[in-house]
Structure formats: C-alpha cells, structure tokens
Symmetry: C2
Amino acid sequence: MGRKNVESLDCSVARSLAVLGERWTILILREALLGTRRFADFQSRLGIGADMLSDRLSTLVEYGVLTKQPYQEPGQRPRAEYLLTPAGRELHVLVAALQQWGDRHLPRPAGPTMTRKARRTDRPVRVAFIDDLGDEVPINDVVSIPTGN
Amino acid sequence: MGRKNVESLDCSVARSLAVLGERWTILILREALLGTRRFADFQSRLGIGADMLSDRLSTLVEYGVLTKQPYQEPGQRPRAEYLLTPAGRELHVLVAALQQWGDRHLPRPAGPTMTRKARRTDRPVRVAFIDDLGDEVPINDVVSIPTGN
C-alpha cells in the first residue's frame, strides 16, 4: 500500500495506515510525543538508519503530522528540528491505544515502559470509547455501521 | 521488525506493532469488527491474495486476536471461521482511532465509510483519553512518562 495512493483509498482506516503504517513511523511518533525533536536524537533513540529516518520524517512533514523548524546553536551550523503539529498531537490516542493493548496482551516481564497521566490533575489516563455526552461506552456496546458512502 | 522477535522488543508500542503492523492486518481486523468471519468473505471484501490472507489470519490466531472455529453447512465440507476473542474486540479502539484520525486529517470527499454508535443508547461514539474517574482528558493535557523499566 504505497503512500502515493492515499487519495484513492476508500476507507479512513486504510488512508491513515498508508501514512502511518510504514515501518518505524509509529515509533518515530512515540519519540516525538516523548519530546524528541532532533534528527540525531531520533536516530540514537531508535537505532534507525539515517536514510530511513529521513524518508519517514519527510512523509510525516508532507502529511502535516510534523513541521520542520530551523534552529541554530551558537557556533554550530543551522539545523532542523521536527515538531508535532496539532494533527500530530492527536495521534497520541493511537500510540496510546497500541501501547495499552500491548501492555495488556503482550506484556513485558519488567512491566510497562511508559505511563500516562493528566498534567492538570495528575490522574492516570487511558484510551476508551466515549459518547457525545462524554460518558464511557463499554467496548462490547460499540457497533460500527457502514455508511454506504 | 519480524514478529518472531516480539518477546525481545522493549516497548509495548513496538510489541503491538510487531503483531498488528503487518500489511493488511488492521484491514482484516476492520472486516472482523464489521462481522466478517469466513476466509472467502475476507478475501472478496479485501481483494487480498489467499496466501497473504492465510498468513495474516494465522498470526492473529497465534497471538490470541482471533480464534478458529469449525463450521459446516449442509452438503458442504467442513470449513473454519475466524471469530474475534475478547483481546481482539479490544482492538476496536485502535481501529477506531485510526479511522477517526483519517476522517479528520485525510478525509474522503464522499465522507466517512463508517460511523460508530452505542448499541444500548444509540449515541455517537468516539475514541478519547479518559482518567480513572471516567472523565475525558483533553489531548494536550496528557503526558507520557517513561517508567525507567
């Protein structure tokens, strides 16, 4: 599923996957959500080759998940850093849903590598279905309905 | 990232991706969540080759996302159908998170192919962060904290 074909895909799940489903992309997002911004930091934290990282970052910039901003440290040449856009920050839900499922069904013996909490209240946070009143809907009560579109 | 290495991966995001991140897997799950159970139905709805489908279904059975159950129609040979386990049904959150992001940031001109609602109340449903009291937490208020594990 090449990303060039995103526009032709007939389902938002497939469309998101065409952008996000490439190897490494979600792990790059995980690092970005933890605060990583710089090419060299992504590279050392993920152990990913420079060409692959460069390609994946370009895709994420192209689709508006990251923006590329110049920065310059004193005495150094100008470099770029990669910041999450609002659309990119929304992907926190997706990365958290993946982690939550893995923590539960493919657990590490040493326990989770990350937890999530609300900055304002310090309460633990998880991903769930909610309705338009903001009430949680149990997963077995949720139905997907094809729209016929 | 081969799925044989799941146990060695040091992060639940990576562990989930090793099982779920293979091409087609999430689309197979999407169909299963819409009620598809039979090999021939997955094949015709997805336009996927039989070998690839067979391999992806085996992985999902191996990791406890689907179970394989025999069924037999009168006058036909016995066949298998694939049912979501409770762990598989939990992935509804992940598939919905992907769809929600795609609907918003990579929208189809014709609109969404699927909507979600609560069976019991008929109210529209979306994926969000909630805290341990069941209250929604705005995405910009959620922080991920490495545990050091």
